[in-house]
């Protein structure tokens, strides 16, 4: 079942005060996301991945095109209760785990904020939070009550993943959510996304530079290049029979390690 439909989505940034300059960040992209689907959005820096995610998260207004979630046009949601409904269903993790925290508050805040969306569920919040932190491999006593600058980048990223785990949305847009997490913990955190998918039917749009990692975790890979989706297919298709020259170039950069394991 399709839950998200993106059609002809375009974003043009206008920069500069006197001499206006237009940057075509996302150029007329269309795709669909099904329930329980794990999609990777792969592309070089500046290809428009974050811009796409921010538009879907209803944080950045598209220049044109439409985004529909469960049949509803996302950008026509206006009332706070509708917006809360949407963010309850569709949530994000941002690329920069430093900027994701207001430096003045303890990290508990981003976790507690989840209950503003869920409402009162009767359960003990504190124990839910602790459980979520344990799921991402953190010791609750070590991180709760601390300020963002007292934690490492990887710890901060995992707290963001814990926030999504607490919320259990239908769709997660994760913008390089594990870039600062060491390889051994990374597998566990990525596994958490899979578990959300299996247990709650969550779909994931996973944004990464790393085609090798995408190959491993996803059901489908979309390659983004200069604002356009230039290639789309199952990991095998993309890896074994790339159509676009950029994909071929990307594949060459995938470390040998991955290739050996996957046998090509």
């Amino acid at each position: 079942m399709v839950i998200l439909e993106v059609e002809n989505l375009t974003k043009i940034y206008v920069v500069g005060l006197l001499r206006k300059k237009e940057i075509l960040a996302v150029n007329n992209i269309s795709f669909r996301v099904s329930e329980k689907e794990f999609i990777s959005l792969v592309g070089e820096s500046g290809s428009g991945k974050t811009t796409t995610a921010r538009m879907i998260l209803r944080l950045l207004k598209p220049t044109s095109g439409s985004i529909r979630f469960q049949g509803r046009d996302v950008w026509s949601l206006k009332k706070m209760e509708d917006l809360k409904w949407y963010w309850r269903q569709v949530h994000g993790i941002f690329q920069d785990p430093f900027a994701s925290y207001n430096p003045l508050y303890r990290i508990d805040r981003v976790l507690n904020q989840v209950f503003n969306l869920i409402g009162d569920i009767g359960a003990d919040r504190e124990s839910l939070i602790r459980e979520a932190l344990k799921e991402v491999g953190l010791r609750p006593d070590e991180v709760l009550g601390r300020y963002p600058h007292e934690l490492s980048g990887g710890q901060r990223q995992r707290i963001m993943v814990a926030r999504c785990y607490l919320l259990k949305p239908r769709l997660i847009l994760a913008d390089e959510p594990v870039s600062m997490i060491d390889a051994s913990t990374r597998a566990g955190v990525l596994n958490l996304f899979s578990r959300l998918r299996d247990e709650y039917g969550t779909s994931v749009i996973f944004i990464t530079h790393d085609l090798g990692l995408a190959y491993y975790v996803s059901d489908r890979i979309m390659i983004m290049y200069r604002g356009e989706i230039v290639e789309e297919g199952s990991p095998e298709e993309v890896m074994e029979n790339p159509q676009h020259p950029y994909t071929r170039k990307l594949r060459e950069d995938v470390p040998l390690l991955y290739r050996k394991w996957s046998g090509f």
Binding site: Y101, N102, L104, V110, Q113, N116
Partner: protein
């Protein structure tokens, strides 16, 4: 227990010096009139007397005690400075936050208003008011200074908001369903608290100078005394040419000391806070 920030702050020399000067003058304005209970606006002695044991800072043309005038003048100048700064800050921060946060037409129209007020000097407004109102009390003068001196605050606050707004933590709060108002008060304003405090200090310094400026050209308070008013009369009656130094030097020094100590205070605070604001 003393919070660590206070311990850090008292180590800054510039801050301690400026704060001591400022507080010393404030104290003089607050308790001076009580310790030295001489009426500043009635004749209490012979005219234009140099300082003596009876009149520590001499008297003016009408035989009024200059020390008494000075102490009351400090008090009124400070209260005009405080009130005007509070008014400017409230307007400037509100306009800056709203325009930076909302964007679009709201931002454009508020910035247009800011530019208009920026171009309109307080002297002009005061001249208009003076034409209608024979009597101008300190509160009226504060309002005039307050409603004309906020544009730079609005601009500075707006640009701060514009840069804060792009930080992801704002989006995290937004995605948690926090409304505009809560984001302003929970995420934006607290991150600008030190900045806003510095703006207040600068506004206050500017307002006291502005009060003196208005008074010097005869557009100041008509009731009561202020540092500017003492200077106004001293100037009008050529105290400088006639070397009646006790009449114009004390209020001049007090005014300059008040204004510069506040300026110094704000640069000291800036030096302390800026590296921290940029993120350790």
């Amino acid at each position: 227990m003393i919070p660590p920030i206070v311990m850090d702050l008292i180590k800054i020399k510039k801050l301690i010096i400026s704060l001591s000067i400022f507080l010393a003058i404030v104290l003089a304005g607050l308790i001076g009139p009580i310790v030295y209970p001489v009426n500043p606006v009635v004749m209490t002695g012979p005219i234009e007397q140099p300082p003596s044991s009876k009149y520590p800072l001499g008297t003016d043309r009408w035989g009024r005690d200059v020390l008494a005038q000075l102490l009351h003048g400090i008090r009124n100048s400070l209260s005009i400075g405080l009130t005007a700064a509070a008014i400017s800050l409230a307007i400037g921060v509100t306009i800056g936050v709203v325009s930076g946060f909302k964007g679009g037409i709201t931002e454009n129209s508020l910035m247009l208003l800011t530019d208009v007020v920026y171009a309109l000097p307080s002297i002009l407004l005061m001249m208009l008011i003076a034409a209608y109102l024979e009597e101008r009390n300190p509160f009226l003068v504060s309002i005039v200074i307050g409603v004309t001196s906020w544009p730079w605050v609005a601009r500075a606050v707006r640009s701060q908001i514009l840069s804060l707004k792009t930080r992801e933590f704002i989006d995290m709060s937004r995605m948690a369903g926090l409304g505009d108002l809560r984001i302003m008060f929970e995420d934006l304003l607290p991150n600008m608290a030190s900045y806003i405090f510095m703006a207040f200090v600068l506004l206050m310094s500017g307002a006291m100078i502005a009060e003196a400026g208005l008074s010097m050209i005869g557009l100041g308070v008509t009731r009561g005394i202020s540092l500017g008013i003492i200077l106004y009369w001293a100037q009008l009656l050529e105290a400088v040419r006639r070397a009646l130094w006790w009449w114009f030097i004390p209020p001049g020094v007090c005014l300059v000391a008040l204004a510069t100590s506040l300026l110094l205070l704000s640069t000291a605070l800036d030096e302390y806070f800026s590296p921290r604001l940029r993120g350790e």
